[in-house]
Amino acid sequence: MDTEPQTRPPGGPPPPGYRPPLGGLTRATDDTVISGLCGGLGRQFGIDPLVFRIAFVVMALAGGTGIILYLVGWALVPDDQGRSFGADWLPGKDRSHKLLAAALAGGGVLLLLDRITNGDGDNFPLGLVLIGVGAAVLWSRRGGQAVTPAPPPPPPPGAAADAPADAPAETAAETAADVGDDTTDQVTSDETTPLPAGSSASSSEATVRVTPPVYRPREPAPPRPPRPPKAPRPRSALVAVTLSLLAILAGVMALAGADVVTGLALALFLVAGAMIVGAWLGRARGLIPIAILLGFALFVANLIDVPLQGGAGDRLFVPASVAELRSPYRLSAGELRIDLRHVDFAGRTVPVVASLAAGDIVVTVPAGVAVAVDAHVGAGDLLVFGRDWSGIGIDERVERAGAEGVGRLELDVKVGLGQLEVRRAAA
């Protein structure tokens, strides 16, 4: 029997007795950044919502899972007024278990799809486990119902001893358990009562007397009282002091000519130290977004690992001799083309250095000269004499022999973000 305490008409306030799914989890309407999902999670588990916000951001950056989970939560978890996009799509009882099962199985499907589309087998067992757990949750709630007929109407008082003797004990017990599972207010479970001696019923039939359950309607839950508004916290000077120190540090590092990686690392040290101080004094949680930005910038700067020099734009260099070489060739952004096909190395070994923070580099080397290429691409593509690599953090060394007595070119080329190509000119 389905008492449907969770159903409600769309729109409007929730009726008395409305019980949101997932154990009362709701999206907080008084602690909202996007939808209040993290605020509701924090309230539900007694944890600062910032923890969930950071977790969603981290999962979003690590493959986009956080975005999917957040959207699913946003759609299915109702807010404090009982409004939701998707919870009503799942009618019937045990909606919370259906939601949980759907979330688990959906996560497993996503992981399997990721495996199929990307060919990455790391998530394959986890995807199967999630699907299995989701199916188990759903099946555990349906197992007793599939074999259980609808319960009979309650008999008149005193009719317990006249229960049909041909009713199998298991079926009667299942019926009682199933109904009790739905209502949770079953008060009678007198399962076995031996018949008096001399009864006409056979011994196997006379060992069970089942009193049908008696139902009491669930008491409607009192409506949730409105949450009192949060008292404003006193402002902490820790964030302002840290930002001031960051500005001073940036100026000092610029004057000292420090490289970007060192400057970002020291800035992150400063913010991290302020957060550790804020564990006991003041409040430092406002520094966490700043630290995330600095950490990301530090990661990118380390990845690029190319000096920001030489301006921006398109540059073409066509030296006619070794004397006209202007190594190192530097450019911050744009396209850098170095055409060395007219340079006569005259049997010497000549080093050439070139770097570009973001954009494309094309180096053309003369026919016949021996070449050793040390190439670095922070993120993008590398093509050297027809071989190509793609991805992040590419470091390759390629050597090609040349004709006798022509000379040797030692090429050291770096591109932070973009494409690096080394090609040989036609003979």
């Binding site: 690392a265 991290a272 550790i276």
Partner: protein, 69 residues
């Protein structure tokens, strides 16, 4: 600035980002050492979080009060 209860989240975040800054300065975060450096950092952060949470609750047990959150 007034002293307050130990904020475990701030402490963990501070230790984590200090580790990130150190790795960035040493240029080890994206190299071959990343296979063990990052897990080690996460383990350190987790241990710090567990120990500080335990210390925080132990202090409240002595006071007979309940920690907020």
């Amino acid at each position: 600035m007034p002293r307050h209860d130990l904020d475990v989240l701030s402490l963990m975040a501070g230790v984590f980002f200090a580790g990130v800054a150190l790795l960035g300065l040493l240029d080890q975060g994206a190299g071959d050492a990343a296979g063990w450096v990052w897990p080690t950092l996460l383990i350190v952060v987790g241990v710090v979080g567990l120990l500080s949470t335990r210390a925080r609750h132990a202090g409240h047990d002595r006071d007979g009060s309940h920690p907020p959150g």
